[in-house]
């Protein structure tokens, strides 16, 4: 056998693997739609049981002076009894800009007893460390994490209360959704990635026994968090790492994704920020993979899934890099059936991209946006470049890990998913990416319908059957 034919055989095996992986990916993308019962969960419940559980919201913030005030207000305004809700903003002592803004806000709110600022001086300066600081001083039964730029839903605590008081769930992950689908060339696919990930894939992961948790809108009992040892301060994706720990400890987990109740976020401010964020995720996953705790997951399926999820970005990068090879092979003299075999992954990618366009329509309809005709075209046109971008970030992650560069490349936030125009504050001169002040756009054409409910008055909420399971 010549070298050439050996390479060819290997490539065919690789192509088969690509097809298998694409089918698997399609399956997890569409898992939520496989039967309508599952989909019904995606609707906002009509009524909630009376508030029982108490919550501590952790808001780690670093150089978030532009968005932190709104976020505090938003969480504070949640429809939930104030005596059952505690808000802890966590800042590093050197970040005076954010600290000032937080203090200003708390004073402006009249120094409510349940909103506090926690400042830490020790190292490392990163999100997991901040979270652990917050956890140490949290008082309430259940801890929830929000990011500084998040826009949690007004009834998220009611929904969480319903889950925790109505089931034996110990952990709850609620949907997180990027909203600004027409901000950058990569926005639409980034938004759709979140859409399918939180709405569908996580449910699938849940069934298989391993869920890489998201970075926010994650609810856990404080005692569980403490016994798990809190967040891993050395890990770049402490959230996914916590997912491994939670699944290893077999804590009953619940995932909800209601279109109306998702925590809203924005896409990275530019391609560079996107790459940095994705690099961090890939590197974090790689770290978790190397740490090896996933090998103690309860079942073989969950172990295999963890293996897949953790190394998937790298595998995907390899596959995408190889796509042009298939086109090239089609031009040389190979038997037509073999060439057709090489086309199977391309077919599956095509089906994927069509389903993404469909998802885009579903997403925009759920949020009352205009018909995304232009974005649909953009999503098709950017499908491959986007994959290549992910591949580049994955390669970069490997490079950084090998080089031992494990610092955070933080994602900047300008509030592009927010209704109000953010105040144009110059970007701080810090080792985080320069953030251009992008004018925010009003993406919400439909009023959210929470304004008609008086905040703090729960008498009108019927204790009753919840749709959450």
């Amino acid at each position: 056998m010549t070298i050439g034919s050996l390479v060819l055989v290997l490539y065919f095996l690789l192509s088969a693997a690509m097809s298998a992986q694409s089918v698997f990916r399609l399956y997890m993308m569409l898992y939520a739609w496989r039967d309508p019962d599952q989909l019904l969960e995606s609707q906002e419940p009509q009524s909630y049981p009376a508030p029982q559980k108490s919550f501590t919201a952790l808001l780690p913030a670093r150089h978030e002076e532009r968005v932190i005030q709104q976020t505090i207000q938003r969480v504070y305004d949640s429809i939930y009894p104030k005596d059952l809700l505690e808000i802890i903003v966590i800042c590093e002592s050197g970040d005076t800009g954010t600290i000032d803004k937080v203090n200003e806000k708390i004073a402006q709110m009249g120094n409510p007893a349940n909103v506090r600022l926690e400042i830490f001086e020790d190292r490392p300066i990163n999100k997991p460390h901040g979270l652990n600081k917050g956890l140490a001083v949290a008082k309430n039964e259940i801890v929830v994490v929000f990011d500084a730029e998040d826009e949690p839903h007004a009834k998220i605590f009611l929904a969480a209360n319903a889950v925790f008081s109505g089931s034996d769930a110990r952990v709850l992950q609620s949907g997180v959704q990027l909203m600004d689908y027409d901000n950058h060339w990569f926005s639409v696919l980034n938004v759709l990635e979140y859409f399918f990930w939180f709405k569908s894939s996580l449910h699938f992961f849940h069934r298989l026994g391993f869920v890489p948790l998201g970075g926010n809108t994650i609810f856990l009992y404080r005692e569980d968090l403490l016994s798990l040892g809190g967040w891993d301060e050395k890990c770049l994706t402490e959230d996914a790492d916590l997912g491994v720990k939670v699944c290893r400890a077999r804590l009953p987990l619940q995932i909800i994704y209601a279109d109306a109740m998702v925590t809203k976020e924005e896409t990275p401010t530019n391609t560079g920020a996107f790459i940095r964020q994705r690099t961090r995720w890939c590197q974090g996953f790689l770290q978790i993979f190397l740490k090896g705790e996933w090998r103690q997951l309860p079942s073989l399926t969950s172990k295999l899934l963890a293996l897949y999820v953790l190394v998937f970005p790298l595998v995907q990068a390899l596959f995408m890099a190889l796509l042009p090879v298939s086109f090239f092979l089609a031009t040389i003299k190979l038997p037509v059936p073999l060439v057709m075999f090489l086309y199977i992954p391309l077919y599956l990618l095509f089906i994927q991209s069509v389903m993404q366009v469909t998802g885009l329509y579903e997403f925009t309809e759920a949020h009352g946006f205009k018909i995304p005709f232009r974005s649909a075209i953009v999503s098709l046109a950017t499908f491959l470049p986007y994959q290549w971008l992910l591949g580049y970030a994955a390669g970069r992650a490997v490079y950084r890990e090998v080089k031992g560069q494990t610092n955070w490349e933080k994602t900047g936030h300008v509030g592009a998913h927010r209704r109000e125009e953010p105040k144009a504050v110059p970007a701080p001169a810090m080792p985080m990416p320069a953030v251009p002040a992008v004018p925010a756009r009003d993406l919400r054409l439909k009023p959210e319908g929470v304004e008609d409910i008086r905040v703090g008055n729960h008498e009108h909420l019927e204790p009753g059957e919840s749709l959450w399971r």
């Binding site: 569409l30 739609w33 309508p36 019904l40 089906i351 469909t358 329509y361």
Partner: protein, 533 residues
């Protein structure tokens, strides 16, 4: 097949699988008995088996130049069947083996029809009636024995239909249904005309919440499967016509060219014209074979469409025959076998209509406070089946199907060639004999006839050159059937026509003749030639 669950108390006899097994036994008997002898092996059967042979023996999609007349899925399956069933001779000739394959597919189709009827009505007597009609109708049996792309397409069509009804609201079965529908479309393009019925069925069987995902998924998957055919042509450089902008300059076949030609094949007027092909085909074949299925089925299909306004799932059952009817009504070419894909749906429509009529009668009886039917619903359906059965027995075609031997002479003619002619003889034949002569029966001791060719393919000048038969003098023998003579004269197919005109009869097996071409003699005036008809 997940059929309805049954209460634990009832005996196993009431399980829905029991009638299904009985029906399969009836169907097997109705189709298998005398299947070697009736009907005649026609040229299409010979062609598909020939190309399946070519797939195995040469690795090409056709024994001649593949011109994209049909997508190759049908004979690829036949080729696969030859491989798994132990070669070409397991059940007699290659044609016999392929007919066995069609029989198995038909049994599958019958089971699927049963499943569909059960899904639609949950009534065993309705499912039984539909399947019995499908199994024993002379119209069905006469066509369904043939190695025909439509018969294969029906299996995939019914599978796709069943998957849509099975476990509704499930995205997985939508995907599978799309895959199988794609295969149906690739097996025989005419499945395209049933798309309205299928799109509607996808619509009604998907939950509102998943429709937006389900329908694009279904369409994309089915279209992807179908597009592999176009991809194949494109990779071969045979998509666009030679000489066109994208087709290049070299001479080659073209998928688009072939389909444009197919589309331009005209009949002789729409059904508004009582002399049209549609009506002559209906009179000569469908109505004369089975009036219950053709007339009763048409009426029942309309009834089912009307009922479909209330019972949404009934509508597609009527839509399939309606779509086919509209396609044929447009006035294009109509072949008698076009009816095949409608047969299961006509049977089902009759059964569904009967079920509705029984419901109506039952309501009427209870309103005038009469007891339920004395013999029960099964009794009434049983009487109906016996009645239809008696009618079928009275039709002359039934006797034909089960007693006539239409293939014996065809076989003898092939055997004569094997015994009397040397292996390299240049013979032009009717299509049925191709695979057998090229492969050579094991009993012939390695003898085969590689220079045997089908007169249609040989009318192509390129093929004539490649096969070394450019003029009639190159031809040594002819295996001639009546249809072949008709074709030769009507279409002026050379060099076969001239060879025929210069030939003499050497052996005659009923309608099949072996003729020797008289190359040594000078041209004779036409009147002297034996016309042999």
């Amino acid at each position: 097949m997940a059929l309805n669950s049954i209460p634990a108390k009832k005996s196993w006899l009431s399980h829905p699988i029991v009638p299904l097994l009985l029906i399969l036994a009836v169907s097997l008997a109705a189709h298998a008995f005398n299947m070697r002898n009736y009907p005649t092996f026609d040229q299409d059967e010979g062609t598909y088996v020939r190309d399946a042979w070519a797939v195995i023996r040469t690795g090409n999609l056709s024994a001649y130049i593949y011109i994209y007349g049909h997508s190759p899925v049908g004979w690829l399956l036949i080729a696969a069947w030859f491989l798994v069933s132990g070669g070409f001779w397991t059940f007699g000739s290659p044609l016999d083996s392929a007919r066995v394959f069609i029989l198995l597919l038909h049994l599958g189709s019958t089971a699927l029809l049963y499943g569909i009827a059960m899904r639609l009505t949950s009534r065993k007597e309705v499912a039984i009636l539909a399947c019995i009609l499908f199994a024993v109708s002379p119209l069905a049996v006469a066509y369904q024995r043939r190695i025909n792309l439509d018969n294969m397409m029906v299996f995939w069509l019914l599978l796709s239909f069943y998957l849509l009804l099975h476990n509704q609201n499930n995205l997985g079965r939508i995907t599978l249904s799309a895959l199988t529908l794609g295969i149906a479309l690739l097996t025989k393009e005419t499945a395209l005309f049933f798309m309205p019925a299928f799109v509607y069925l996808v619509w009604v069987t998907t939950h509102k919440a998943q429709r937006r995902m389900g329908i694009p998924l279904w369409i994309t998957v089915a279209a992807s499967v179908v597009s592999t055919y176009i991809l194949y042509a494109a990779l071969k450089g045979e998509l666009f016509p030679a000489g066109s902008l994208l087709g290049g300059t070299g001479k080659h076949v073209s998928l688009i060219e072939t389909y444009m030609w197919q589309g331009s094949r005209t009949g002789n007027g729409s059904i508004l014209n009582s002399d049209s092909l549609f009506w002559s085909t209906a009179n000569n074949y469908w109505l004369s074979f089975d009036k219950v299925l053709s007339i009763g089925g048409a009426v029942a299909a309309l009834a089912v469409i009307v009922a479909g306004f209330r019972k949404k799932l009934y509508l597609p059952v009527g839509l399939v025959p309606l779509c086919l009817f509209l396609y044929m009504a447009r006035g294009g070419v109509v072949f008698d076998f076009y009816i095949i894909p409608a047969i299961p749906f006509l049977s089902l429509a009759i059964a569904l209509t009967t079920g509705m009529a029984l419901d109506g009668l039952q309501r009427l009886r209870s309103r005038v406070s009469l007891a339920p039917f004395p013999a029960g619903r099964y009794g009434l359906v049983g009487v109906m089946i016996i009645g239809v059965g008696l009618y079928y027995l009275s039709e002359p075609i039934t006797a034909e199907i089960y007693t006539a031997n239409r293939t014996a002479e065809q076989r003898e003619a092939v055997e004569w060639i094997a015994q009397n002619l040397p292996t390299n003889t240049k013979i032009i034949i009717d299509g049925y004999a191709w695979a057998e002569l090229h492969e050579g029966r094991p009993e012939w001791g390695g003898k085969n006839f590689p220079n045997t060719h089908f007169y249609w393919n040989l009318s192509d000048p390129d093929t004539q050159v490649r096969m070394g038969m450019t003029k009639w003098q190159d031809v040594q023998y002819l295996l001639v059937s009546p249809i072949m003579v008709l074709d030769l004269e009507r279409e002026n197919l050379e060099p076969t026509l001239d060879a025929y005109r210069h030939s003499e009869l050497v052996a005659k097996f009923d309608e099949v003749e072996i003729r020797k071409v008289l190359t040594q003699q000078p041209d004779q005036p036409e009147g002297v030639v034996a016309w042999g008809r």
